[in-house]
C-alpha cells in the first residue's frame, strides 16, 4: 500500500506521439486514436473519463497545457477540436489535481465529494405526489433565467482544478444560488447553505480568495456572482442562528 501511495504522489509524464491526427477531431477523439495506436503496439492505453462527448455530462476531467478543459472559452474537453492546434505541437495533459479529487488512474479522478456536497442539502425536500399546480408559483422571468444560469453547472470540477486553493466554492455556490433565487427553495435556504458549506470544508476543498480562475474555466460560464450570493446567504444564516 505504501508503494502505491508513493507512486500516486510522484506520478509521471510520458511522451506519446499521435500519428494521423486531423484538425476536425475532437480532443477526446485524438486520445481515442492515441489509445488505438498504443494498444496495437501492445502498450497500455491512457484511461480518461468521458461519456456524452457533447459538453453536458461533466465527465471530462483533464488539464490541457495548464488550463482545465483547454484553451477554448466555455467548453468542456470533449468540445475542444484539434483545429485549435498545429501539426507538431506538444500538448501537456494532466488530470484535475486537488486534495478533494483523489486520483484513480491516469487522467481519472474521484469526484464523489461533489455528490456528498449535494447530498448535504442541494435539494428541495419535496416528496413525489404533494406538489401544487406548477403555475401556482409565479416566478419573474429574470429570476427564473438567473436561476437557470446557476443551475447549468455540469459538476465537472474544473473550477476546483483551476483554483489555487482547490476551492469548490463555485460548484457549491451555483446550487445554493439556484435554489435561493426560487421561491420553492426558500423554506430550507439557511439550513442548506450552512450544511453545504460545512460539507465542502469537510471534503478538503480550500477557501475562496477571489482569484476568479473558476469562472474563467467554467465550461458553462457560471458567474462568480454565485459566490457572493452564497456568502450573503451564509451570513444571513449565521445571523438567524440556524
Amino acid at each position: 500500500m505504501a508503494d502505491k501511495n508513493l507512486l500516486q504522489i510522484h506520478g509521471k509524464f510520458v511522451d506519446y506521439t499521435v500519428e494521423n491526427a486531423n484538425s476536425h477531431m475532437s480532443f477526446l477523439e485524438l486520445l481515442d486514436l492515441l489509445n488505438e495506436q498504443l494498444i496495437k503496439k501492445g502498450e497500455e492505453p491512457v484511461e480518461f473519463d468521458n461519456d456524452c462527448r457533447e459538453g453536458i455530462c461533466g465527465s471530462c476531467s483533464m488539464v490541457i497545457n495548464g488550463i482545465p478543459h483547454g484553451p477554448t472559452k466555455e467548453s468542456a474537453t470533449c468540445q475542444l477540436h484539434m483545429r485549435h492546434y498545429n501539426d507538431g505541437d506538444t500538448i501537456i495533459v494532466e488530470p484535475f489535481r486537488a486534495k478533494g479529487f483523489p486520483i484513480i488512474k491516469d487522467l481519472v479522478v474521484d469526484r464523489s465529494a461533489f455528490d456528498r456536497i449535494i447530498q448535504a442539502g442541494g435539494y428541495n425536500s419535496v416528496n413525489v405526489g404533494s406538489a401544487p399546480d406548477a403555475n401556482s408559483i409565479l416566478i419573474p422571468k429574470d429570476k427564473a433565467d438567473m436561476a437557470f444560469d446557476f443551475a447549468a453547472c455540469i459538476g465537472c470540477g474544473a473550477c476546483v482544478a483551476a483554483c489555487p486553493n482547490s476551492s469548490a466554492s463555485l460548484f457549491t455556490a451555483a446550487k445554493i444560488s439556484q435554489l435561493s433565487l426560487l421561491p420553492q427553495g426558500h423554506p430550507e435556504r439557511y439550513r442548506r447553505v450552512i450544511r453545504m458549506v460545512e460539507q465542502m470544508e469537510k471534503e478538503g476543498f480550500g477557501d475562496c480568495s477571489n482569484h476568479g480562475e473558476c469562472e474563467a474555466v467554467c465550461p458553462k460560464g457560471i458567474s462568480i456572482d454565485a459566490i457572493s450570493i452564497m456568502r450573503r446567504e451564509y451570513f444571513k444564516a449565521m445571523l438567524k442562528n440556524v
Binding site: 476536425h24 492505453p45 456524452c52 453536458i56 467548453s75 455528490d115 406548477a134 403555475n135 427564473a144 437557470f148
Partner: protein
C-alpha cells in the same frame, strides 16, 4: 409463452384509476423490510430510486458512471410534453394520447400511453417544486413551445438543456434519500448478470469498475433503468458508456425482447465528417420551430447556400406536408432527408446533409430572439463544425438517437421474469415504432415517479420472499461464468481492437439495418454479424488486467453483447 399484458378493465380513461383502486398495498412499516435494486440513474432510475425511498423501501442504486448525475438523460435538449393546456390552444389528455399513438404508427400499447398522458401534468408540478428552472413568460407563468408531430404547444423546456435540468432534479431527490440513508449508492459499477431464484428476479452481479471485483447484491425486486441500445450502430447520439449489456443479459436469463428493430433515426444531427468520429451530436428538434429545411432543386448543386436563389431551393417538408411543415414527426423528416440525398441533392462535402436555415427567422424575429431561444445549440454547432449558423444554414443529417424497442413489459412495467421491472427507454411499451419529441423525458419520469411506486407495491404485497443468501448456487454459478468470460476476453490477444469490431458492427447495422432495409441486405447483415462474432472471440485484443480500471475491458464485454443484439435486430426485421 403466453404474454399477459394485464391491462385493467374499463374504459381507457378509467383503467389507471381502476388499477390503483384495486391493487394490494404494502403497510408503511413493512416497506422498510424490502430491499429494491435499481440499475441506472437516468431519469427513470433516479426518479424511481427517490420515490421508492420516499415511500420507505430500502433502495440500492447502481450506476456505471462516477456519479448518478452524469447518466445520459442529461443530454436531452428540447423539452418535456405535458397536457396542461396552459397556452389555451386546445390540448387535453386525449390529444396528447392521440398524438403519441399516431406518432408511434399505432404500435404502442394504448393503455400505457393513456396513463402516460394522464400523469404528464403531475410531472411538471413535481419538477417545478424541486426547483427545475423551466422557461417562463414575463408574467411569471411557464412557457411552452411546439415539437414535431403536434399542432399545438405542450412542450415545457429549460433552454436547450431540459434533460439536464430534469435529471438534476431527480438526482437531487435521489441524493436527499442517500443522506436519509434510504438509498445506498454504488458508483462505477456495471451490472453483468441478473440472479433469478425460484423463478423470481432476486439479485444482480456487478463488477466494481475501479477494483475489478465481482459483487453480489440481493433484493426483492430488480428495476432495470439502463436506457437504450442505440450504440449498437457504433455512431449514435448516445453517450459512450450507454450500452445494452444489462438488458441483454436479462434477455439471456429469459426476459423477452419486444420490437428490437424499432430504432429512431433523428432527423437533425450534425453530419458525419470522418472515420475517426466517435459519436454524433444532436441538434434539438426544437430548432425546427424556426428553422426551415431545404436542399437545392438541382442535383449536385455545389454553390454556396447563400448564393442559391429562393426559387431554386426545395423546402421539401413544407411542400409535401403543408399542415405540419417543418414539424413533421421524426421518422418522416428522416426518411425525406435520406430521399433527397439519394436523389443527389444532398449538400456539403459528403452530399449526406440537408440545410436547416434560420435566415427567415432571423429576419422576422431578430438575431437576439433566435439567440435567446437556441443560443447554446448554435454555439455547439459552431464549435463542432467551425461554421457560424447565424450566417450560413446548418447542415444536418439523420442519426441513430433512440430505441423504441426494449424488454417486453406488462401494464405494471414488469418483464416476463417476475420481479424484474423495466423502466424508461429500456422497455418497449410507450412509443410504438416512432417516439415523438419531448416524450422520452415524460416517459422516464412517469415510470419512475408515478407508476412504479404503485405497481411495485402490488408485486411486493402479492408475493412472499424467502431469504436469499449471496452464497447460493445461483450467485456462485453466475460469478464463475462472468469470471470465465473476463479471463477469456483478456486472453485472446488477437490483432483487432475492441473499437475496430464496434466500428465494423456499426457499418453493418447502419448500411443494412438502418433507415431503409430489404431482404437481401438483412440476409447479408445476419451473415456478416455472425462471422464478426466468430472473429471477435478469436481475434480481439483487450489490453490490461481485470483488477483495476480498464475501460477497454468494459467495452469488450459490451461490444460482445452488441454483436448478439445486432443479430437479433436484423432477424426481427423480417417479421
Amino acid at each position: 409463452m403466453n404474454l399477459d399484458s394485464k391491462i385493467p378493465s374499463g374504459r381507457l380513461q378509467d383503467k389507471w384509476d381502476n388499477y390503483k383502486n384495486n391493487i394490494k398495498l404494502v403497510n408503511p412499516n413493512n416497506k422498510r423490510k424490502h430491499a429494491i435494486i435499481v440499475v441506472g440513474t437516468g431519469l427513470a432510475g433516479a426518479s424511481a430510486s427517490a420515490s421508492l425511498a420516499e415511500l420507505g423501501y430500502n433502495v440500492k442504486t447502481f450506476t456505471i458512471l462516477d456519479s448518478p448525475r452524469r447518466a445520459h438523460s442529461i443530454a436531452a435538449q428540447g423539452g418535456i410534453n405535458a397536457a396542461k393546456n396552459y397556452p389555451n390552444d386546445g390540448d387535453s389528455i386525449w390529444r396528447l394520447f392521440y398524438d403519441t399513438i399516431k406518432g408511434g404508427d399505432y404500435r404502442s400499447r394504448e393503455a400505457n400511453v393513456y396513463r402516460l398522458a394522464q400523469i404528464s401534468s403531475n410531472i411538471i408540478d413535481h419538477c417545478v417544486a424541486q426547483g427545475v428552472p423551466f422557461a417562463r413568460e414575463y408574467g411569471g407563468l411557464l412557457d411552452n413551445r411546439s415539437f414535431g408531430g403536434a399542432q399545438l404547444s405542450r412542450t415545457f423546456y429549460a433552454r436547450g438543456q431540459t434533460g439536464q435540468q430534469l435529471l438534476l432534479g431527480a438526482y437531487s431527490s435521489l441524493m436527499r434519500q442517500v443522506e436519509l440513508k434510504k438509498v445506498t449508492l454504488f458508483n462505477r459499477r456495471e451490472m453483468l448478470d441478473l440472479i433469478v431464484i425460484d423463478g423470481k428476479a432476486r439479485g444482480i452481479l456487478t463488477r466494481n469498475l475501479v477494483t475489478g471485483e465481482l459483487e453480489r447484491h440481493v433484493g426483492d425486486a430488480v428495476l432495470l433503468c439502463t436506457g437504450g441500445y442505440g450504440n449498437v450502430f457504433y455512431l449514435s447520439t448516445n453517450a459512450k458508456n450507454s450500452n445494452a449489456t444489462a438488458a441483454w443479459r436479462c434477455h439471456k436469463k429469459g426476459a423477452l425482447f419486444a420490437n428490437p428493430c424499432y430504432t429512431q433515426i433523428h432527423p437533425t444531427c450534425i453530419p458525419v465528417s470522418g472515420d475517426y468520429q466517435s459519436k454524433l451530436t444532436l441538434m434539438s428538434e426544437s430548432l425546427r420551430n424556426d428553422g426551415r429545411v431545404w436542399v437545392p432543386k438541382k442535383p449536385n448543386d455545389k454553390r454556396h447556400p447563400n448564393e442559391i436563389p429562393e426559387d431554386e431551393r426545395d423546402y421539401y417538408l413544407e411542400r409535401k406536408y403543408p399542415s405540419f411543415g417543418n414539424l413533421v414527426p421524426r421518422d418522416i423528416a428522416s426518411r425525406n432527408a435520406k430521399q433527397v440525398c439519394d436523389e443527389g441533392r444532398g449538400v456539403g462535402d459528403t452530399g449526406l446533409a440537408v440545410y436547416l436555415d434560420f435566415a427567415d427567422a432571423i429576419k422576422r424575429l431578430g438575431k437576439d430572439v433566435i439567440k435567446a431561444r437556441y443560443g447554446n445549440l448554435f454555439d455547439m454547432y459552431e464549435r463542432i463544425t467551425g461554421e457560424n449558423p447565424y450566417e450560413v444554414p446548418m447542415r444536418i443529417y439523420p442519426a441513430v438517437h433512440y430505441t423504441m424497442g426494449g424488454l417486453w413489459v406488462d401494464y405494471e412495467l414488469m418483464s416476463t421474469i417476475p420481479g424484474l421491472f423495466v423502466l424508461g427507454e429500456a422497455n418497449f411499451s410507450d412509443h410504438g415504432a416512432n417516439r415523438l419529441g419531448a416524450s422520452a423525458l415524460m416517459q422516464g419520469l412517469a415510470d419512475g415517479y408515478f407508476i412504479i411506486p404503485y405497481t411495485l407495491g402490488n408485486y411486493i404485497a402479492s408475493n412472499t420472499f424467502n431469504k436469499v443468501d449471496t452464497n447460493s448456487d445461483e450467485f456462485k454459478i453466475s460469478e464463475e461464468n462472468i469470471r470465465r468470460e473476463v479471463k477469456k476476453l483478456l486472453s485472446i490477444k488477437g490483432k483487432k481492437t475492441v473499437l475496430d469490431f464496434h466500428r465494423e458492427l456499426g457499418h453493418i447495422m447502419w448500411d443494412y439495418v438502418g433507415m431503409s432495409r430489404n431482404k437481401q441486405g438483412l440476409e447479408k447483415a445476419i451473415k456478416d454479424i455472425q462471422s464478426l462474432k466468430e472473429e471477435f472471440w478469436n481475434n480481439v485484443y483487450v489490453p490490461g488486467d481485470d483488477n483495476n480500471l480498464n475501460k477497454y475491458l468494459e467495452f469488450a464485454g459490451r461490444v460482445a453483447d452488441f454483436i448478439e443484439l445486432g443479430e437479433l435486430m436484423a432477424k426481427r426485421c423480417f417479421t
